[in-house]
C-alpha cells in the first residue's frame, strides 16, 4: 500500500470550485445553455421539418459543388437512401443537427484561436501543450466538466463534443497560416497592406486548404463522439447505439452504427472535396 501520509486529494477542492462556480456564476451558464439550446432546437426543427427529398437535394448539391464529379453525387444519393430505408432518417437528422452546431461553434472558436497561435509565439507555446493533452485525453473525460456545469442534455453533449473535436482545427489553422509563403506576405506588406488586409486577403485564403483539412478532422472527431455524448443526453443515432448495447439488441445497435458511418463518409467526402477544390484553384504553387 502506498503510505497514507503522502495521500493528497484534489477531489474536495475541485468539487468545491465547481460548486462555487455554479452558485456564483450559475446565471452565466444558464444564459449560455439557453442560447445554445435554442440554436440546437432551431437547426433540429429545420432538418427534421424539411421533407426528406429537400435534405437529399441539399446534400447532392453540396456533393456536386465540392467535387464536380457525378460519381460522388451518386454515392451520396445511395448512402442517404440506405439511411432512409433503414428507418434512421429522423435519428440521423437529430445527429446531423448536433454535428452542424458543434462544427459551427468549433469553427468560430478554432479558426480565431489558430490565427492567434500563428501570430503570437507566446500564445503558441502556452496552447500547444494544452492541445496535446486534450487530444490524448479519453473522450469520456470531457463529459465530466460539461455535466458539472450544464447538467444533462443536448447542451453539455454539444459542448463536450466541441472540446473534444476543436484541437485539430486550431492546429491546422495555425499551421496553414505559418506555411504561407513569406515572400507573398512581404510583397503585400510592401504595397501597404494592413495586418487585417493581409490576414483576410492573403493569409487566410492561402491557408484555406489546410484549414479545410482541419475542419474535416474536426467533423470526424465530432462524429466519433456521438455515442459517448448520447450518454449524457444527446439524442439521435448515438442514443440508438447505446440503446442497442444496453438491451443486447445487436441488430439495432449495428443499424444505428451503420447510420453513423454513412454520415461520416458523406461529410468526409464533401469537406475533403471542398478542400481539394481550394487547393486546385491555385495550382501547384
Amino acid at each position: 500500500m502506498f503510505p497514507e501520509a503522502f495521500h493528497i486529494s484534489i477531489r474536495g477542492p475541485i468539487n468545491d470550485f465547481v460548486q462555487s462556480l455554479v452558485v456564483n456564476y450559475g446565471f452565466v451558464f444558464k444564459a449560455i445553455s439557453q442560447t445554445l439550446l435554442q440554436a440546437i432546437l432551431f437547426v433540429e426543427w429545420i432538418l427534421r421539418g424539411l421533407p426528406w427529398w429537400a435534405v437529399f437535394l441539399v446534400f447532392l448539391a453540396l456533393a456536386w459543388a465540392a467535387s464536380k464529379k457525378v460519381s460522388l453525387v451518386v454515392t451520396v444519393a445511395v448512402m442517404l437512401f440506405v439511411v432512409g430505408a433503414l428507418g434512421l432518417w429522423d435519428l440521423t437528422m437529430q445527429t446531423l443537427a448536433l454535428m452542424l452546431i458543434a462544427s459551427l461553434i468549433s469553427v468560430a472558436i478554432g479558426v480565431p484561436m489558430g490565427i492567434w497561435l500563428a501570430k503570437s509565439e507566446l500564445m503558441r507555446r502556452i496552447t500547444l501543450p494544452v492541445l496535446d493533452v486534450m487530444q490524448t485525453m479519453p473522450s469520456f473525460v470531457y463529459l465530466i466538466p460539461a455535466i458539472m456545469l450544464f447538467g444533462l442534455g443536448k447542451v453539455p453533449a454539444v459542448l463536450a463534443t466541441i472540446i473534444y473535436a476543436v484541437p485539430p482545427l486550431i492546429r491546422l489553422t495555425d499551421l496553414g497560416i505559418r506555411q504561407v509563403d513569406g515572400e507573398v506576405v512581404e510583397a503585400a506588406t510592401a504595397f501597404g497592406g494592413s495586418p487585417t488586409q493581409i490576414l483576410f486577403g492573403v493569409e487566410l485564403p492561402l491557408a484555406t486548404p489546410t484549414i479545410m483539412a482541419g475542419l474535416n478532422q474536426t467533423i470526424m472527431m465530432a462524429l466519433s463522439m456521438v455515442v459517448v455524448a448520447s450518454m449524457i443526453g444527446a439524442r439521435g443515432l448515438g442514443e440508438q447505439v447505446l440503446n442497442g448495447i444496453q438491451t443486447l439488441d445487436v441488430g439495432k445497435g449495428l443499424e444505428a452504427g451503420l447510420g453513423i458511418v454513412i454520415l461520416a463518409i458523406v461529410l468526409d467526402r464533401i469537406t475533403q472535396g471542398f478542400g481539394q477544390m481550394s487547393r486546385k484553384e491555385r495550382g501547384n504553387d
Binding site: 515572400e183 510583397a187 503585400a188 506588406t189 510592401a190 485564403p205
Partner: protein, 276 residues
Amino acid sequence: MTDIKIRNVSKIFGGSWKAALAMTQQGADKGEILARTGCSVGLDNVSLDIPGGRIFVIMGLSGSGKSTLVRHINRLIEPTSGEILVDGSNVLDLKPKDLRDFRNRRVSMVFQNFGLMPHRTVLQNVVYGQRVRGLTKVDAKPIGMKWIETVGLAGYENKFPHQLSGGMKQRVGLARALAADTDVILMDEAFSALDPLIRADMQDQLLQLEKNLHKTIVFITHDLDEALRIGAQIAILKDGKLVQVGTPNEILNSPANDYVARFVQRRAGAGEPHHA
C-alpha cells in the same frame, strides 16, 4: 521627384548583433564575423545619396547586400543602426499607419522572386496597390489593364500566376509596381528572367518613365551592360560595404579598386552609356 539618403546604415542578421556590430566597427570582415558570432553582415555602414528622378543602379556579387539595402528604403528591414531619409524625412520615424501609407503611395517594389499572390489573377495582382489604396474594382481595372498591356501580357489578365512562365511572372511583378504609380520604384533584379528582346523593351520603358515622369528608380542588376545602359549612377557593393559610386563613365574609366575593375574589365567600350 523624391531623393533618398541612406546614412550609415548597418544591418546584422542574428541574435548577437551587438558583438557583431562592434566587430564591424573594428574593421573585421564578413567571414570572420560569421565564424566568431554566427551573425551575417547584411550591410556595413553604408551611406548613399540617391538623387531624385533618375535611375540609380546597384551592383555587386551574390550575397553582397543589394536586396538588403533596397529593403531598407521601404523598411521591410529595420536597420541595426543608421537612418534612411526619403525626401528629407526619416523613414524610421513613421508610425505603423503612416508607414503603410508611405509604402502604398510613395514606394513600390519589384521582388527578386516575384512575390505574386497565387490565389489572385494577373489583373488582381497588378491592381493590388490601388485596391489597398481604396479604389474599387471597376476604377482599378483600366489602370491594371494599361500596365498589363505595357509589359506585353494583354490576354493573360485572368490567368493565375501558376499558369505563367518565369519571365511572365516577373512582368506581372513589374506591372504591379508600375500600376501603383509611386514616385519611387525599387527593382530587385526586375529583368533577370526576361529574354533579351523584352528586356531591351523594358529598359526603354524605364528610361521613358525616368524622362517623362521623373520617377526615382533604384535598380539592382547583375548585368553590367544593363547597368551602363540605364543607370545615371551606379553603386557597387561588396560584402555589405559600399565600394564605389559614380556615373557609368567614372566606374568604367576609374574603378576604385580591383574588385570594381574586375567587374568592368570584360567590356571594353562596347555600347554607349545612355547617361553620358
